[in-house]
């Protein structure tokens, strides 16, 4: 899949962000929490690439470090909603009786706008990283269940499922070896989209002030703190905002790339042509 330049770019950008944020403490000139009242709200310069904030902290360093919490929330929400959504979706798609119960609950949850549901949950539970993750997972997994279920319903009608049953294959094997691999591509695409959506939602919640405690730097909390200074120090808002845009864009591009890569009809095609060609060469050599 990395032969495609778009995929390579997306994966490269994400990798760069992840590596930068993990190794930040090794190479950052200023610890991002270093407060310097003399250097408040300085514009970008050779010393402070992204400028400084209202406490005189280096925004470049803050943006890099803030990615830790932001990405962590995104990854965990994406994984949890994918796992929950896949399991419930598989069950709902395969077992007719369970379908009714599961899908009515899911429909009920989908009736709320995702962000509003998350907002209400965080407001009730209190704003910290764990609660944000719980709230966002709750808001995003119903969509996954719906997508998985509809994919399962399609695959379930294809003859190889019936053929598997005629060879005496059990339900669990059919679910996980016959159905799951064939519905994997929508799951993966939706998973990366949920990752991207979770980053946006976390920023939105923090911006609204119900999210993560402002003392923990995330892109969302930075945006929230910066809004007061947007006219006198626009760089304070712009750089975390750009970071969100780039990450979300890269994730969406990667999602599309993964979808192509997981399509079994595209896989192995090149290899087999090569093999055919080699065989021919041997034959006529």
């Amino acid at each position: 899949m990395f032969k495609n330049k778009r995929n390579l770019l997306a994966a490269g950008v994400l990798l760069l962000i992840i590596v930068a944020t993990i190794t930040a403490s090794l190479w950052l000139k200023f610890p991002p929490t270093h407060i310097d009242p003399e250097a408040r709200l300085l514009s970008p310069s050779g010393k402070n690439w992204f400028g400084t904030d209202h406490f005189g902290r280096d925004i470049f360093g803050l943006t890099i470090v803030a990615a830790r919490v932001t990405l962590f929330v995104g990854v965990v929400v994406a994984l949890l909603s994918t796992v929950l959504g896949t399991i419930t979706g598989l069950i709902a798609g395969y077992y007719k009786k369970a379908e009714f119960i599961i899908m009515r609950i899911i429909d009920g949850m989908l009736a709320f706008p995702a962000l509003l549901l998350a907002l209400a949950l965080v407001a009730a539970l209190g704003g910290n990283v764990t609660n944000i993750i719980i709230a966002l997972t709750f808001a995003f997994w119903p969509v996954m269940t719906r997508i998985v279920r509809s994919a399962v319903l399609q695959v379930n009608n294809i003859q190889y499922i019936e053929a598997a049953k005629t060879t005496g294959t059990g339900d669990l094997v059919i679910l996980f070896r016959y159905i799951l691999p064939n519905v994997l591509s929508p799951i993966i695409v939706q998973g990366t989209f949920i990752f991207a959506k979770a980053i946006l939602a976390e920023a939105a919640l923090s911006f609204l002030g119900v999210g993560i405690d402002p003392s923990t730097p995330t892109w969302g909390t930075m945006l929230q703190e910066s809004q007061v200074y947007i006219t006198i120090a626009p760089w304070f808002s712009i750089f975390p905002g750009v970071a969100i845009v780039i990450t979300v864009l890269a994730l969406n591009m990667l999602g599309d790339g993964l979808r192509d890569a997981f399509d079994p009809h595209k896989k192995n095609q090149k290899k087999s042509t090569k093999k055919l060609f080699r065989n021919r060469k041997q034959k006529y050599a």
Binding site: I158, Q159, Y160, A163, N182, H265, N268, S272
Partner: protein, 339 residues
């Protein structure tokens, strides 16, 4: 080996109960090939699926009958016990080879899985067995083909792979549900030839379901003709083709194009539509379309009557009455052509 007694399969649909299989009895002996023919909607596929209990429940219900396979009634078995029979003792191949293989796994894996579902065997032994099976069904270069995905096979080759999977556990009975319908004619002939060879080698009994009378003539020892969920004629293949004694079978055979017929002559299709199985007609189910129809046919529902030599037919006309009527119809038609 297999004996079906008065089997009924009903489908519970929104418009009422469809009597898809309505009191069918037949038997299959070990190593025998039995053909089931009939037009679309005659219940052939539902019958085949019910032998392995693969009709989705609901809508399917089994209100009556027995399916005795090796002294067990399959209708009484639990799902778990059925799984041990499926693939192991009774195997099935399907109409559409293009969609009967899991597209995400290699052929070799799928074959080995079929083997290892019922037999405890190391991966290596299973792979050897898989190779042997692919060789048996005539796939060239089986070793490298094991690592190919289904989409790299043609339709005929996939059907061969499916036959190999069906044979994996050397079943006693192979149900072939229109195995050649989706293939072109030359490949059809090859697959039928293969099924004959396989039967010789493995001694498997075969039930072949088709609407293609040519396939049946080539392969089957005995033929069951189905119409509206019932068997209307049963007998050895030669008798069915040359000593037809039931108007439906006669009409069906007559509707085939023949090499020796006049090219200007129209094919003699059967008039009308198959009956509505929710509310079948009174009397004989075929009576609304039957060229032989008498007043009695609209009242009496005929049962299968033995005509000797294991030949049974569901028609109230006696053999002589039937022959007489047949000649009358042919005479009328000849006059029509001459005019």
């Amino acid at each position: 080996m297999l004996e079906v007694k008065n089997l009924k399969v009903h489908l519970d649909t929104a418009s009422g109960i469809v009597k898809a299989v309505d009191g069918v009895s037949f038997h299959v002996k070990a190593g025998e090939t039995v053909g089931i023919v009939g037009e679309s909607g005659s219940g052939k596929s539902v019958l085949a699926h019910s032998l392995m209990q693969l009709n989705p429940v609901p809508p399917a219900t089994y209100p009556q009958g027995e399916i005795i396979f090796e002294n067990r009634n399959l209708l009484d078995l639990k799902e778990k016990e059925l799984r041990k029979i499926r693939g192991n003792e009774i195997a099935m191949i399907f109409q559409d080879p293009m969609s009967s293989l899991n597209p995400v796994f290699k052929i070799g894996n799928q074959l080995m899985e079929a083997i290892r579902t019922h037999q405890s065997m190391s991966r290596q032994n299973a792979e050897e067995k898989a190779l042997e099976l692919l060789k048996d069904v005539g796939i060239p270069d089986p070793k490298s083909r094991l690592n190919d995905y289904p989409h790299q096979f043609s339709g005929g080759m996939r059907q061969r792979v499916l036959i190999a999977i069906a044979l994996a556990c050397q079943p006693k009975l192979l149900i072939a549900d229109e195995p050649t319908t989706a293939l072109d004619v030359t490949i059809q002939a090859q697959i039928l030839e293969l099924m004959k060879d396989i039967q010789k080698k493995y001694g498997t009994a075969i039930i072949i379901i088709t609407h293609d009378l040519g396939v049946v003539a080539q392969l089957a020892d005995r033929v069951l003709v189905m119409y509206s969920g019932r068997i209307v004629e049963e007998g050895i293949t030669g008798d069915i083709f040359y000593h037809t004694s039931m108007p439906y079978t006669w009409s069906l055979l007559r509707s085939l194009p023949r090499l020796d017929s006049d090219i200007h002559q129209r094919l003699k299709s059967i008039q009308g539509q198959p009956p509505n199985l929710v509310d079948p007609p009174k009397g004989c189910n075929f009576s609304p379309r039957c060229p032989f129809v008498t007043e009695q046919c609209l009242e009496v529902d005929p049962s299968l009557v033995d005509r000797g030599n294991g030949h049974r037919a569901a028609c109230i006309l006696s053999e002589s009455e039937y022959e007489e009527r047949k000649h009358e119809i042919q005479d009328i038609e000849r006059e029509g052509v001459e005019q």
